[in-house]
């Protein structure tokens, strides 16, 4: 599975902010940590703000902070903000879909989508942070 750049940036930002919810990070700080474009991140942060996942804090020392529910927000929730149809099953009639081969192919593709969806919707931000901590500790 390949994520669009905005989706990946959103996941980076959410995970970074959710790791220390009491702390605020500026867009530049987040961009520097992941070596990504601050301009591109700007649009992403606005969208995350609209979705109620992050909040912009103005003033000196301002930045963004995570205000979502880390236990209830899943990877799929964030991916679907930026790629709403990425795991949709094929509903459009493409040439050949009414043939036996076309139908059989759709069964296999649907199976893959189902597995991806089950994986992404079962991993919360909190679980990701736990996995990250585990990876960092070398366990």
């Amino acid at each position: 599975m390949k994520l669009q750049r905005s989706t990946r940036l959103a996941l980076y930002a959410v995970l970074e902010l959710a790791d220390q919810p009491e702390q605020q990070l500026s867009r530049t700080e987040i961009a520097e940590r992941f070596d990504i474009s601050s301009n591109h991140l700007s649009k992403v942060m606005r969208e995350l703000g609209r979705q109620g996942l992050v909040e912009a804090v103005r003033g000196v020392g301002g930045g963004y902070r995570f205000v979502g529910n880390a236990k209830r927000t899943t990877l799929l929730d964030i991916i679907e903000i930026f790629e709403p149809h990425t795991l949709d099953k094929e509903t459009q009639r493409e040439p050949g879909t009414d043939t036996a081969v076309g139908r059989t192919l759709d069964v296999v593709l649907d199976e893959i989508s189902d597995i991806m969806r089950a994986t992404l919707e079962s991993i919360s931000i909190k679980t990701m942070l736990m996995l990250k901590a585990k990876a960092n500790s070398g366990n």
Binding site: I115, A118, E121, S122, I123, S124, K126
Partner: protein, 143 residues
């Protein structure tokens, strides 16, 4: 909350918890699991969580060796938590106790199988650190 070995007197509560989750009362099934655990405690571990004198949940683990070519590993084959004890850490406490039993038996891999559509249970096991393993479950209808 106390995590302890299952006792015969727990079975009605276990059937009731399972009934709430699956809609099927399986008295014989749970009695067989109880008897198996009583006979073969080393490989069939059946624990319950007790809170204020009542069964708040149950968990079953089995140690299996060389199935599907796998070296010995521990399987979480059943877990259930009473509705009133959900989101209180009961599942986590029971799983921790079971994993400790597996470790004492020299097991270093734990596996389970979860229905893809069971988001709550899938999220629970994910939150405990379980990831997709090297096996895929395959099936077909025998019509």
């Amino acid at each position: 909350m106390t995590i302890r070995d299952v006792a015969a007197g727990d079975l009605d509560a276990i059937v009731a918890i399972d009934l709430g989750e699956t809609g099927v009362a399986k008295h014989d099934y749970w009695r067989e699991k109880f008897e198996l655990a009583a006979r073969q405690r080393a490989t069939h571990i059946f624990l319950v969580a007790e809170q204020e004198g009542a069964v708040a949940g149950f968990i079953i683990g089995e140690i299996k060796a060389w199935e599907f070519g796998s070296s010995p590993c521990g399987w979480v084959s059943a877990i259930g938590v009473a509705n009133e004890s959900r989101f209180t850490g009961t599942g986590t406490r029971m799983l921790e106790a079971l994993l400790a039993e597996f470790k004492r038996a020299g097991i270093d891999i734990v596996r389970t199988m979860v229905a893809r559509g069971n988001r709550e249970l899938m999220s629970f096991f994910r939150s405990q650190g379980l990831m997709a393993g090297p096996y895929l479950q395959l099936e077909m209808r025998l019509d």
